[in-house]
Protein backbone atom coordinates (compact mmCIF):
# COMPACT_ATOMS: atom_id res chain seq x y z
CA UNK A 1 0.00 0.00 0.00
CA UNK A 2 1.43 3.39 -0.96
CA UNK A 3 2.01 5.90 1.82
CA UNK A 4 0.34 8.61 -0.25
CA UNK A 5 -2.72 6.50 -0.97
CA UNK A 6 -5.75 7.42 1.12
CA UNK A 7 -7.82 4.56 2.47
CA UNK A 8 -11.44 4.34 1.39
CA UNK A 9 -13.79 5.95 3.95
CA UNK A 10 -15.08 2.53 5.02
CA UNK A 11 -11.60 1.02 5.36
CA UNK A 12 -10.40 4.09 7.25
CA UNK A 13 -13.35 4.01 9.66
CA UNK A 14 -12.89 0.30 10.33
CA UNK A 15 -9.14 0.76 10.73
CA UNK A 16 -9.55 3.67 13.16
CA UNK A 17 -12.08 1.68 15.22
CA UNK A 18 -9.73 -1.33 15.24
CA UNK A 19 -6.75 0.75 16.36
CA UNK A 20 -8.91 2.20 19.16
CA UNK A 21 -9.29 -1.34 20.52
CA UNK A 22 -5.54 -2.07 20.57
CA UNK A 23 -4.84 -0.49 24.02
CA UNK A 24 -7.10 -3.16 25.52
CA UNK A 25 -4.48 -5.74 24.53
CA UNK A 26 -1.96 -3.80 26.62
CA UNK A 27 -4.45 -3.48 29.48
CA UNK A 28 -4.96 -7.23 29.43
CA UNK A 29 -1.23 -7.95 29.47
CA UNK A 30 -0.68 -5.48 32.32
CA UNK A 31 -3.40 -7.13 34.41
CA UNK A 32 -2.03 -10.61 33.67
CA UNK A 33 1.53 -9.62 34.62
CA UNK A 34 0.29 -8.00 37.82
CA UNK A 35 -1.93 -10.93 38.78
CA UNK A 36 0.81 -13.51 38.17
CA UNK A 37 3.19 -11.69 40.53
CA UNK A 38 3.05 -11.46 44.31
CA UNK A 39 0.85 -8.86 46.04
CA UNK A 40 3.84 -6.94 47.39
CA UNK A 41 4.85 -5.91 43.84
CA UNK A 42 1.38 -5.62 42.25
CA UNK A 43 1.22 -1.83 42.06
CA UNK A 44 4.81 -1.69 40.82
CA UNK A 45 3.99 -4.00 37.90
CA UNK A 46 1.01 -1.87 36.84
CA UNK A 47 3.01 1.33 37.35
CA UNK A 48 5.81 -0.12 35.21
CA UNK A 49 3.24 -1.01 32.52
CA UNK A 50 1.92 2.55 32.45
CA UNK A 51 5.40 4.08 32.39
CA UNK A 52 6.56 1.69 29.69
CA UNK A 53 3.58 2.58 27.47
CA UNK A 54 4.38 6.27 28.01
CA UNK A 55 8.10 5.94 27.32
CA UNK A 56 7.46 3.76 24.26
CA UNK A 57 5.01 6.29 22.81
CA UNK A 58 7.47 9.17 23.23
CA UNK A 59 10.49 7.21 21.94
CA UNK A 60 8.53 5.99 18.93
CA UNK A 61 7.29 9.53 18.26
CA UNK A 62 10.82 10.95 18.42
CA UNK A 63 12.60 8.48 16.17
CA UNK A 64 10.81 5.11 16.04
CA UNK A 65 8.55 5.85 13.09
CA UNK A 66 11.40 7.59 11.30
CA UNK A 67 13.31 4.27 11.28
CA UNK A 68 10.21 2.14 10.61
CA UNK A 69 8.54 4.12 7.82
CA UNK A 70 5.78 2.73 5.68
CA UNK A 71 5.55 0.99 2.34
CA UNK A 72 5.99 3.69 -0.31
CA UNK A 73 8.04 6.06 1.87
CA UNK A 74 11.73 6.38 0.93
CA UNK A 75 14.25 4.08 2.62
CA UNK A 76 17.94 3.24 2.50
CA UNK A 77 18.31 0.14 0.37
CA UNK A 78 21.18 -2.12 -0.61
CA UNK A 79 21.06 -3.33 -4.19
CA UNK A 80 21.46 -7.11 -4.47
CA UNK A 81 21.34 -8.66 -7.95
CA UNK A 82 19.66 -5.51 -9.25
CA UNK A 83 16.87 -5.55 -6.63
CA UNK A 84 16.51 -3.06 -3.76
CA UNK A 85 16.69 -4.51 -0.24
CA UNK A 86 15.32 -1.80 2.06
CA UNK A 87 16.95 -1.94 5.49
CA UNK A 88 15.92 1.30 7.20
CA UNK A 89 13.53 4.14 6.46
CA UNK A 90 14.76 7.66 5.79
CA UNK A 91 11.85 9.39 7.49
CA UNK A 92 12.10 12.56 9.57
CA UNK A 93 12.15 12.54 13.35
CA UNK A 94 9.07 13.71 15.30
CA UNK A 95 6.68 12.49 12.53
CA UNK A 96 7.46 15.67 10.53
CA UNK A 97 6.92 14.03 7.14
CA UNK A 98 3.66 12.28 7.93
CA UNK A 99 0.54 13.72 6.26
CA UNK A 100 -2.33 13.52 8.75
CA UNK A 101 -5.08 13.32 6.15
CA UNK A 102 -6.18 9.72 6.49
CA UNK A 103 -3.08 8.44 4.71
CA UNK A 104 -1.85 4.90 5.34
CA UNK A 105 1.35 6.31 6.86
CA UNK A 106 -0.51 8.36 9.48
CA UNK A 107 -2.56 5.36 10.60
CA UNK A 108 0.57 3.17 10.57
CA UNK A 109 2.31 5.71 12.82
CA UNK A 110 -0.58 5.57 15.31
CA UNK A 111 -0.73 1.77 15.13
CA UNK A 112 3.06 1.50 15.45
CA UNK A 113 3.08 3.72 18.54
CA UNK A 114 0.67 1.36 20.30
CA UNK A 115 2.49 -1.72 18.96
CA UNK A 116 5.82 -0.49 20.33
CA UNK A 117 4.16 -0.06 23.73
CA UNK A 118 2.68 -3.54 23.53
CA UNK A 119 6.07 -5.07 22.66
CA UNK A 120 7.66 -3.18 25.55
CA UNK A 121 5.03 -4.48 28.01
CA UNK A 122 6.01 -8.10 27.37
CA UNK A 123 9.40 -8.11 29.18
CA UNK A 124 7.72 -6.77 32.35
CA UNK A 125 6.23 -10.25 32.75
CA UNK A 126 9.64 -11.94 32.81
CA UNK A 127 11.37 -9.29 34.92
CA UNK A 128 8.58 -8.90 37.46
CA UNK A 129 9.41 -8.44 41.16
CA UNK A 130 13.11 -7.64 40.62
CA UNK A 131 13.40 -5.14 37.73
CA UNK A 132 13.92 -1.53 38.78
CA UNK A 133 11.33 0.87 37.38
CA UNK A 134 13.87 3.32 35.94
CA UNK A 135 15.88 0.53 34.33
CA UNK A 136 12.66 -0.86 32.87
CA UNK A 137 11.95 2.54 31.26
CA UNK A 138 15.53 2.83 29.97
CA UNK A 139 15.30 -0.61 28.38
CA UNK A 140 12.01 0.43 26.77
CA UNK A 141 13.78 3.30 25.02
CA UNK A 142 16.10 0.79 23.32
CA UNK A 143 13.18 -1.39 22.27
CA UNK A 144 10.75 1.29 21.10
CA UNK A 145 13.30 3.59 19.48
CA UNK A 146 15.51 1.04 17.75
CA UNK A 147 14.92 -2.73 17.90
CA UNK A 148 11.16 -2.75 17.23
CA UNK A 149 11.15 -0.06 14.49
CA UNK A 150 14.07 -1.67 12.65
CA UNK A 151 12.38 -5.07 12.43
CA UNK A 152 9.00 -3.42 11.77
CA UNK A 153 10.52 -1.62 8.79
CA UNK A 154 11.69 -4.93 7.35
CA UNK A 155 8.21 -6.46 7.74
CA UNK A 156 5.65 -3.61 7.64
CA UNK A 157 7.62 -0.76 6.06
CA UNK A 158 8.35 -2.36 2.70
CA UNK A 159 11.76 -3.64 3.83
CA UNK A 160 13.68 -6.66 2.56
CA UNK A 161 11.64 -9.30 4.43
CA UNK A 162 8.37 -7.97 3.01
CA UNK A 163 9.91 -7.97 -0.49
CA UNK A 164 11.20 -11.55 -0.38
CA UNK A 165 8.37 -12.51 -2.74
CA UNK A 166 9.19 -9.91 -5.38
CA UNK A 167 12.98 -10.08 -4.98
CA UNK A 168 13.58 -13.80 -4.42
CA UNK A 169 10.40 -15.52 -5.54
CA UNK A 170 9.50 -16.69 -2.03
CA UNK A 171 5.69 -16.75 -1.96
CA UNK A 172 4.18 -13.39 -0.98
CA UNK A 173 7.27 -12.39 1.00
CA UNK A 174 7.39 -12.55 4.80
CA UNK A 175 3.81 -12.16 6.09
CA UNK A 176 2.95 -11.00 9.60
CA UNK A 177 -0.37 -9.14 9.56
CA UNK A 178 -0.97 -8.64 13.29
CA UNK A 179 2.56 -8.88 14.62
CA UNK A 180 3.22 -12.46 15.82
CA UNK A 181 6.85 -11.83 14.95
CA UNK A 182 7.08 -8.05 14.81
CA UNK A 183 5.45 -7.36 18.18
CA UNK A 184 5.21 -10.63 20.09
CA UNK A 185 8.42 -12.48 19.21
CA UNK A 186 10.47 -9.27 19.44
CA UNK A 187 8.97 -8.60 22.89
CA UNK A 188 9.28 -12.27 23.92
CA UNK A 189 12.95 -12.54 22.94
CA UNK A 190 13.62 -9.31 24.84
CA UNK A 191 11.79 -10.88 27.79
CA UNK A 192 14.18 -13.87 27.66
CA UNK A 193 17.16 -11.49 27.57
CA UNK A 194 15.80 -9.61 30.60
CA UNK A 195 15.14 -12.83 32.55
CA UNK A 196 18.72 -13.98 31.92
CA UNK A 197 20.27 -10.61 32.73
CA UNK A 198 18.29 -10.20 35.96
CA UNK A 199 18.62 -13.81 37.14
CA UNK A 200 15.93 -15.61 39.12
CA UNK A 201 13.97 -14.08 42.00
CA UNK A 202 15.35 -14.45 45.50
CA UNK A 203 14.31 -17.87 46.81
CA UNK A 204 13.19 -19.27 43.47
CA UNK A 205 15.99 -21.84 43.23
CA UNK A 206 16.97 -21.97 46.88
CA UNK A 207 16.60 -25.69 47.51
CA UNK A 208 19.07 -27.67 45.40
CA UNK A 209 18.24 -25.92 42.12
CA UNK A 210 14.66 -27.23 42.21
CA UNK A 211 12.33 -24.31 41.45
CA UNK A 212 10.08 -23.20 44.31
CA UNK A 213 6.46 -22.51 43.41
CA UNK A 214 5.72 -18.80 43.81
CA UNK A 215 2.02 -18.51 42.93
CA UNK A 216 0.50 -15.33 41.55
CA UNK A 217 -1.58 -13.23 43.91
CA UNK A 218 -4.74 -12.61 41.88
CA UNK A 219 -6.22 -15.12 39.43
CA UNK A 220 -9.16 -12.76 38.84
CA UNK A 221 -6.82 -10.13 37.36
CA UNK A 222 -5.23 -12.77 35.18
CA UNK A 223 -8.45 -14.19 33.77
CA UNK A 224 -10.11 -10.80 33.33
CA UNK A 225 -6.96 -9.67 31.54
CA UNK A 226 -7.41 -12.54 29.10
CA UNK A 227 -10.92 -11.38 28.19
CA UNK A 228 -9.75 -7.80 27.69
CA UNK A 229 -6.83 -9.03 25.58
CA UNK A 230 -9.21 -10.78 23.18
CA UNK A 231 -10.87 -7.46 22.32
CA UNK A 232 -7.51 -5.77 21.91
CA UNK A 233 -6.10 -8.56 19.77
CA UNK A 234 -9.12 -8.48 17.46
CA UNK A 235 -8.38 -4.81 16.88
CA UNK A 236 -4.66 -5.49 16.49
CA UNK A 237 -5.17 -8.21 13.89
CA UNK A 238 -7.85 -6.25 11.99
CA UNK A 239 -5.91 -2.98 11.84
CA UNK A 240 -2.64 -4.73 10.90
CA UNK A 241 -4.33 -6.68 8.13
CA UNK A 242 -5.91 -3.55 6.64
CA UNK A 243 -2.79 -1.40 6.93
CA UNK A 244 0.00 -3.78 5.99
CA UNK A 245 -1.65 -6.54 3.97
CA UNK A 246 -4.18 -4.44 2.05
CA UNK A 247 -7.05 -6.62 3.27
CA UNK A 248 -10.53 -5.18 2.70
CA UNK A 249 -13.09 -4.69 5.50
CA UNK A 250 -15.03 -7.65 4.05
CA UNK A 251 -12.53 -10.08 5.62
CA UNK A 252 -12.85 -8.67 9.14
CA UNK A 253 -15.39 -11.30 10.16
CA UNK A 254 -12.88 -14.00 9.19
CA UNK A 255 -10.14 -12.22 11.16
CA UNK A 256 -12.38 -11.92 14.23
CA UNK A 257 -13.44 -15.57 14.08
CA UNK A 258 -9.86 -16.76 13.57
CA UNK A 259 -8.63 -14.69 16.51
CA UNK A 260 -11.34 -15.99 18.84
CA UNK A 261 -10.95 -19.62 17.72
CA UNK A 262 -7.18 -19.59 18.18
CA UNK A 263 -7.53 -18.15 21.70
CA UNK A 264 -10.27 -20.62 22.59
CA UNK A 265 -8.31 -23.65 21.40
CA UNK A 266 -5.15 -22.38 23.08
CA UNK A 267 -6.95 -22.07 26.42
CA UNK A 268 -8.64 -25.46 26.04
CA UNK A 269 -5.34 -27.13 25.14
CA UNK A 270 -3.63 -25.71 28.23
CA UNK A 271 -6.62 -26.46 30.48
CA UNK A 272 -6.83 -30.01 29.15
CA UNK A 273 -3.12 -30.63 29.63
CA UNK A 274 -3.11 -29.36 33.21
CA UNK A 275 -6.34 -31.24 33.98
CA UNK A 276 -4.76 -34.46 32.75
CA UNK A 277 -1.53 -33.93 34.66
CA UNK A 278 -2.72 -32.43 37.93
CA UNK A 279 -6.38 -33.47 38.13
CA UNK A 280 -7.55 -29.84 38.05
CA UNK A 281 -7.19 -27.17 35.36
CA UNK A 282 -4.54 -24.57 36.24
CA UNK A 283 -5.84 -21.00 35.91
CA UNK A 284 -2.48 -19.34 35.18
CA UNK A 285 -1.44 -21.88 32.54
CA UNK A 286 -4.91 -21.73 30.95
CA UNK A 287 -4.52 -17.96 30.74
CA UNK A 288 -1.08 -18.45 29.18
CA UNK A 289 -2.63 -20.84 26.65
CA UNK A 290 -5.33 -18.28 25.77
CA UNK A 291 -2.79 -15.53 25.19
CA UNK A 292 -0.49 -17.87 23.29
CA UNK A 293 -3.39 -18.73 20.97
CA UNK A 294 -3.96 -15.02 20.38
CA UNK A 295 -0.26 -14.45 19.75
CA UNK A 296 -0.06 -17.32 17.27
CA UNK A 297 -3.18 -16.17 15.44
CA UNK A 298 -1.83 -12.72 14.61
CA UNK A 299 0.54 -13.46 11.73
CA UNK A 300 -1.86 -15.22 9.41
CA UNK A 301 -5.26 -14.14 10.72
CA UNK A 302 -6.42 -12.84 7.32
CA UNK A 303 -5.10 -15.74 5.23
CA UNK A 304 -6.08 -18.88 7.11
CA UNK A 305 -9.34 -20.81 7.41
CA UNK A 306 -11.10 -21.03 10.79
CA UNK A 307 -10.13 -24.70 11.01
CA UNK A 308 -6.46 -23.81 10.56
CA UNK A 309 -6.80 -21.02 13.14
CA UNK A 310 -8.18 -23.55 15.63
CA UNK A 311 -5.26 -25.89 14.98
CA UNK A 312 -2.73 -23.05 15.27
CA UNK A 313 -4.28 -22.00 18.59
CA UNK A 314 -4.32 -25.60 19.85
CA UNK A 315 -0.61 -26.05 19.14
CA UNK A 316 0.18 -22.57 20.49
CA UNK A 317 -1.63 -23.23 23.77
CA UNK A 318 -0.01 -26.65 24.16
CA UNK A 319 3.44 -25.25 23.44
CA UNK A 320 2.96 -22.46 25.98
CA UNK A 321 1.82 -24.82 28.75
CA UNK A 322 4.74 -27.19 28.16
CA UNK A 323 7.42 -24.57 27.71
CA UNK A 324 6.48 -22.63 30.88
CA UNK A 325 7.38 -25.72 32.90
CA UNK A 326 10.38 -26.60 30.73
CA UNK A 327 11.91 -23.14 30.95
CA UNK A 328 11.44 -23.01 34.71
CA UNK A 329 12.60 -26.49 35.68
CA UNK A 330 15.10 -27.46 32.96
CA UNK A 331 16.56 -24.17 31.77
CA UNK A 332 16.37 -22.22 35.02
CA UNK A 333 14.57 -19.24 33.49
CA UNK A 334 12.49 -17.49 36.16
CA UNK A 335 9.67 -15.94 34.13
CA UNK A 336 6.78 -15.10 36.51
CA UNK A 337 4.44 -13.96 33.72
CA UNK A 338 5.25 -16.73 31.24
CA UNK A 339 6.27 -14.03 28.74
CA UNK A 340 8.94 -16.08 26.98
CA UNK A 341 6.71 -19.12 26.46
CA UNK A 342 3.65 -17.15 25.44
CA UNK A 343 5.14 -14.40 23.29
CA UNK A 344 8.44 -15.78 21.97
CA UNK A 345 7.48 -19.44 21.49
CA UNK A 346 3.87 -18.64 20.51
CA UNK A 347 4.99 -15.82 18.21
CA UNK A 348 7.58 -17.91 16.38
CA UNK A 349 5.04 -20.71 15.97
CA UNK A 350 2.47 -18.24 14.60
CA UNK A 351 4.97 -16.92 12.06
CA UNK A 352 5.86 -20.41 10.83
CA UNK A 353 2.21 -21.50 10.76
CA UNK A 354 1.52 -18.96 8.01
CA UNK A 355 3.87 -20.89 5.77
CA UNK A 356 1.94 -24.11 6.34
CA UNK A 357 -1.69 -22.95 6.43
CA UNK A 358 -2.04 -19.70 4.47
CA UNK A 359 -4.50 -19.61 1.56
CA UNK A 360 -4.39 -16.66 -0.82
CA UNK A 361 -7.18 -15.30 -3.02
CA UNK A 362 -7.40 -16.73 -6.53
CA UNK A 363 -5.10 -14.85 -8.89
CA UNK A 364 -2.52 -13.98 -6.23
CA UNK A 365 1.07 -14.43 -7.38
CA UNK A 366 2.19 -17.45 -5.36
CA UNK A 367 5.80 -17.47 -6.64
CA UNK A 368 6.16 -21.21 -6.52
CA UNK A 369 4.39 -21.43 -3.16
CA UNK A 370 7.63 -21.21 -1.16
CA UNK A 371 5.84 -19.19 1.49
CA UNK A 372 7.24 -21.39 4.26
CA UNK A 373 10.80 -20.46 3.23
CA UNK A 374 9.94 -16.76 3.50
CA UNK A 375 8.50 -17.37 6.97
CA UNK A 376 11.60 -19.40 7.91
CA UNK A 377 13.81 -16.48 6.88
CA UNK A 378 11.75 -14.27 9.21
CA UNK A 379 12.22 -16.72 12.09
CA UNK A 380 15.96 -16.88 11.33
CA UNK A 381 16.11 -13.08 11.45
CA UNK A 382 14.33 -12.96 14.80
CA UNK A 383 16.66 -15.56 16.34
CA UNK A 384 19.88 -14.63 14.56
CA UNK A 385 19.62 -10.84 14.47
CA UNK A 386 16.94 -9.47 16.80
CA UNK A 387 17.77 -11.75 19.75
CA UNK A 388 21.54 -11.03 19.85
CA UNK A 389 20.81 -7.34 19.26
CA UNK A 390 18.30 -6.98 22.09
CA UNK A 391 20.42 -9.13 24.45
CA UNK A 392 23.56 -7.15 23.65
CA UNK A 393 21.91 -3.75 24.04
CA UNK A 394 20.31 -4.70 27.37
CA UNK A 395 23.57 -6.24 28.67
CA UNK A 396 25.40 -3.04 27.79
CA UNK A 397 22.79 -0.87 29.49
CA UNK A 398 22.82 -3.15 32.54
CA UNK A 399 26.57 -2.51 32.96
CA UNK A 400 26.10 1.21 33.29
CA UNK A 401 22.65 1.21 34.86
CA UNK A 402 22.03 -1.95 36.89
CA UNK A 403 18.67 -3.52 36.21
CA UNK A 404 18.22 -5.56 39.35
CA UNK A 405 16.81 -4.03 42.51
CA UNK A 406 18.78 -4.25 45.78
CA UNK A 407 18.21 -7.44 47.87
CA UNK A 408 16.43 -5.33 50.49
CA UNK A 409 13.98 -4.09 47.85
CA UNK A 410 13.23 -7.60 46.74
CA UNK A 411 12.65 -8.69 50.34
CA UNK A 412 10.30 -5.78 51.04
CA UNK A 413 8.53 -5.96 47.73
CA UNK A 414 8.89 -3.38 44.99
CA UNK A 415 5.69 -1.54 45.95
CA UNK A 416 7.11 -0.30 49.25
CA UNK A 417 10.73 -0.08 48.10
CA UNK A 418 10.27 1.81 44.84
CA UNK A 419 6.82 3.42 45.15
CA UNK A 420 6.59 3.96 48.89
CA UNK A 421 3.14 2.40 49.23
CA UNK A 422 1.61 -1.01 48.70
CA UNK A 423 -1.20 -1.96 46.34
CA UNK A 424 -3.32 -3.30 49.19
CA UNK A 425 -2.51 -1.17 52.27
CA UNK A 426 -5.37 -2.57 54.37
CA UNK A 427 -4.17 -6.17 53.98
CA UNK A 428 -1.13 -7.98 55.39
CA UNK A 429 1.65 -8.26 52.81
CA UNK A 430 3.50 -11.57 53.00
CA UNK A 431 7.27 -11.44 53.21
CA UNK A 432 9.95 -13.82 51.96
CA UNK A 433 9.99 -15.52 55.32
CA UNK A 434 6.34 -16.51 54.84
CA UNK A 435 6.92 -17.77 51.31
CA UNK A 436 9.99 -19.80 52.13
CA UNK A 437 8.67 -21.20 55.34
Amino acid sequence: MSAQLLLSPTAMAVCVFSILLVPLAGTGLALINSGLGRSRSAAHTLMASLCVMAVAAVAYFICGFAWQGFSGLPSYAATVRGRPWGWISTGHFFLRDVAFNGSGASLAAWFGMLSAGLAALIPIGSGAERWRLRACCASTVLLAAWTFPLFAHWVWGGGWLAELGANCGLGQGFLDAGGSGTIQAVGGLTALSIAWILGPRRGKYAAGNMPAAIPGHNAVFVLFGCLLALVGWTGLNSAGSILFMGVGPGRLALIGINTLLAAAMGALAAAGMTLTRFGKPDASLTANGWISGLVASSAGCAFITPGAAALIGLVGGGLAARSVEWLESRLGVDDPGGAVSVHAVGGLWGVMAVGFFAHFPAGANLNGSRQWVAQLVGVATLLGFVFPLTYGLNCLLNRFYPYRVEPEGERQGLDLYELGAGAYPEFITHTDEFTLG
Partner: protein
Protein backbone atom coordinates in the same frame (compact mmCIF):
# COMPACT_ATOMS: atom_id res chain seq x y z
CA UNK B 1 30.53 -20.13 25.48
CA UNK B 2 27.80 -17.48 25.57
CA UNK B 3 29.68 -15.28 23.11
CA UNK B 4 30.31 -18.25 20.82
CA UNK B 5 26.60 -19.06 20.93
CA UNK B 6 25.57 -15.55 19.94
CA UNK B 7 28.21 -15.52 17.19
CA UNK B 8 26.76 -18.78 15.85
CA UNK B 9 23.26 -17.27 15.94
CA UNK B 10 24.45 -14.30 13.89
CA UNK B 11 26.46 -16.53 11.54
CA UNK B 12 23.43 -18.73 10.92
CA UNK B 13 21.38 -15.66 10.05
CA UNK B 14 24.10 -14.48 7.67
CA UNK B 15 24.00 -17.88 5.92
CA UNK B 16 20.21 -17.65 5.59
CA UNK B 17 20.33 -14.11 4.15
CA UNK B 18 23.13 -15.03 1.76
CA UNK B 19 21.18 -18.11 0.64
CA UNK B 20 18.03 -16.18 -0.29
CA UNK B 21 20.04 -13.37 -1.87
CA UNK B 22 22.26 -15.58 -4.01
CA UNK B 23 20.09 -18.57 -4.83
CA UNK B 24 16.55 -17.16 -4.52
CA UNK B 25 13.77 -19.73 -4.72
CA UNK B 26 15.84 -22.75 -5.74
CA UNK B 27 16.37 -26.06 -3.99
CA UNK B 28 19.96 -25.00 -3.29
CA UNK B 29 18.71 -21.78 -1.66
CA UNK B 30 16.26 -23.75 0.48
CA UNK B 31 19.05 -26.15 1.47
CA UNK B 32 21.34 -23.33 2.56
CA UNK B 33 18.44 -21.69 4.42
CA UNK B 34 17.88 -24.90 6.38
CA UNK B 35 21.64 -25.20 6.99
CA UNK B 36 21.65 -21.64 8.36
CA UNK B 37 18.79 -22.52 10.67
CA UNK B 38 20.80 -25.52 11.85
CA UNK B 39 23.72 -23.25 12.73
CA UNK B 40 21.32 -20.95 14.60
CA UNK B 41 19.96 -23.92 16.53
CA UNK B 42 23.51 -24.84 17.61
CA UNK B 43 24.06 -21.25 18.69
CA UNK B 44 20.83 -21.23 20.68
CA UNK B 45 21.82 -24.46 22.45
CA UNK B 46 25.21 -22.97 23.36
CA UNK B 47 23.65 -19.76 24.71
CA UNK B 48 21.13 -21.71 26.78
CA UNK B 49 23.81 -24.03 28.17
CA UNK B 50 26.00 -21.06 29.06
CA UNK B 51 23.19 -19.53 31.10
CA UNK B 52 22.39 -22.84 32.85
CA UNK B 53 26.08 -23.21 33.81
CA UNK B 54 26.22 -19.64 35.08
CA UNK B 55 23.20 -20.27 37.28
CA UNK B 56 24.77 -23.50 38.56
CA UNK B 57 27.95 -21.66 39.50
CA UNK B 58 26.11 -18.84 41.29
CA UNK B 59 23.79 -21.22 43.23
Amino acid sequence: MKLAGFLLLAAGWAIVVAAVALFSATALGTGFTLAGMGVELLGLILVVRAHIQRRGQSA
